[in-house]
Every structure is written in structure tokens, then in C-alpha cells.
Amino acid sequence: MDPVFVWVESSTFSIWTRESTSVFAFPTFLAVHAIGMALVAGMGAAINLRILGVAPGVPLTEMKRFLPFIWAGVWLCAASGAILLVAYPTKAFTNPFFYAKLIFVALGIVQLRVIGSRVLGDASLDMTPVRGRGRLLAVSSLVCWAGAIGTGRFLAYTYIRLLSI
């Protein structure tokens, strides 16, 4: 992988993102990543809490209206995350926390799709308590978003190799 890391890290965009002292470089991408996270994990958690029985008077199918905001958050995170990755590919790809985070995020997104279609899309669950698999999905979704947050945060404090160049 080293030649790829070297190639990416020596690109103009990677160097600018990493080394620019402008607030519009690295800090802005971090801020966008955080806002995306708040939309995805935050509103995702709120939907999961509703599935688990908090706020039972909220029609579950109506929670679908918030999904576009969550998906917008997913795209904000993906775009800003990709840029952060271009800045520090070696640091991420040599860090076990990064792979753990990717797994949590992938599982979280798959579960979000299933929750959106199977739980929020099921009119029979609108005002009745959710049981069985729906509850299990909500719990595991909460665990995945918390896991993604924790591993993401630990990424900032750990590395094996910072750069290949």
C-alpha cells in the first residue's frame, strides 16, 4: 500500500488539507464531519429511542420524515471523511481503530436502511409497541453509532504511522 499512500500524500490537495493554516482547510472538514455525525447518530438515536418505547405518542411512520436529514448527514460524513482520509491515508489505514470504525459505520448504515423500510415503513407499527426484531435492530443501531463515535474519537489520539512521505 505504501506507494499509494505516498502518491496520495504528495498530491497538492492532500498537502493543502494537511498543512494549510487556514481555518477552511482541516478544521472545516472536521466540523462538517461532526455536524454529519450529529445528524446521523443523533437523529438515528432519537428514532431508535422511539422504537424502544420512548415517546410512544409519536406516530412511527411519521419518523420517516427525518430520514432525509439522516441521509444528508451520511453524505456529509462520507464527503468530509474522504477528504480527511486523503489528508492522512497512512495514519488511518494503519490504525486498527479505523477498521473498527468502518465496520460500525457499515453496520449502522445497513441497519438504518432496514429500520427505514421494515420498521418505519410498517403501517401496522405506527402506534403500537414495537416488539422482537424491530427492538433488536434499534438496540444494535444504538450500539453501532456509539461504537462509531468512540472509535472515531480514539482515532485522533492514536497512530502507528503518521505519514508515508
Partner: protein, 181 residues
């Protein structure tokens, strides 16, 4: 101002029990993870409520959605706790940090916004049921809330830009960027 800042740094920095705990290995990143979990709870639940005030998902009765708000308050308390722990451990990194000043400003305005919401419009807004619309003042408060909490997050995230922590120049395994080994 300089005297006040110096006094704050000295006073906050004298709480040795918290800083001793925070300087143990991994305590700082663990508290930061909790801080981010708290912000998600806060922004997720309050943000949803704000969007409902603005007219999204209007089949949801206001009072029903308000049942999620205590979870947002829980996130806020978690963040107040963990945030205070950062501040008590490294006061000078915050007291002299422009981004922290702005974050406190956004937090104060957000708090004021919450107070205005509960004191002035909540009684009128709470009974609004499925399909109902809230008064314009409540919509304005909802929009302000979204803007202010996003401001709090952005300033929080920019703290490190004004206070870049240093990594050990000699990389080791998974420890060298920790503020305290």
C-alpha cells in the same frame, strides 16, 4: 480581562482531583467520546423537535415528540460534566481560546432561547396536535435553536484549531498522541 482570565485559569486549575483523574491513561479520549455521544443525544432530539416546530413531520403531536427532550437534556448534562472536566484539567487551553469564547457565547444564546421557549411559547405550543401548526414566534425559536446548537458544535470542533495538541514526534504504538500517557 487579563486579570480575570488569569484568576479563572488559577482557580479552575486548582481542582486537583479532576485533573489527576483526567491525566490517567485514556481518560481524556474516553471523556471526549462521551462528549460526542452527549452532543448527538442533544442535537438529535432537540433538532427533531425544532424541525417539527418548523413544520416538518407535522402528523407528530408536539407533546408526544416532547417526550424525547429529556434525553437531550441528559446529553446536555453529560456534556456539561465532561466539558467541565476538560476545562478543569487544562484551563489555559480554553480560557485563552477564541473558539471557546464563541462557544460559550453560542451556549448562552442557546440557553436564553430555551428559556424564552418555555417561559413564553411552550404553553401555547404544547397542545398542538397532529397536523397542527405552531405560531410564528415558536418557529423562529426552533430555527434559532438549530442555528445556535450547530454554532456550539462548530466552535467546539474548532477548539483544537486554536489549540493544536502536539503528537510525540517519535511514533510508537497507539499512545503518542495522548495528552497524558
Amino acid at each position: 480581562m487579563g486579570d480575570l482570565q488569569l484568576w479563572l485559569v488559577r482557580t479552575l486549575g486548582s481542582v486537583d482531583s479532576v485533573s489527576a483523574l483526567m491525566r490517567t491513561s485514556w481518560a481524556w479520549p474516553v471523556c471526549e467520546s462521551l462528549h460526542f455521544v452527549g452532543l448527538c443525544l442533544l442535537f438529535g432530539t432537540i433538532g427533531m423537535f425544532d424541525l417539527r416546530l418548523l413544520g416538518l413531520a407535522n402528523r407528530v403531536p408536539i407533546a408526544a415528540l416532547h417526550r424525547l427532550v429529556p434525553w437531550g437534556v441528559g446529553g446536555y448534562v453529560l456534556n456539561l460534566t465532561t466539558g467541565s472536566m476538560f476545562l478543569l484539567t487544562e484551563p489555559d487551553q480554553y480560557i485563552y481560546n477564541t473558539s471557546f469564547h464563541l462557544k460559550m457565547l453560542f451556549m448562552s444564546l442557546a440557553g436564553l432561547n430555551v428559556a424564552i421557549f418555555y417561559l413564553r411559547v411552550f404553553r401555547e405550543v404544547k397542545p398542538v396536535g397532529a397536523g397542527g401548526d405552531v405560531p410564528r414566534a415558536a418557529k423562529f425559536i426552533g430555527a434559532a435553536s438549530l442555528f445556535l446548537w450547530i454554532g456550539v458544535m462548530v466552535c467546539g470542533r474548532l477548539l483544537t484549531f486554536y489549540r493544536p495538541y502536539l503528537c510525540d514526534p517519535d511514533p510508537g504504538f497507539l499512545l503518542n498522541c495522548l495528552p497524558y500517557g
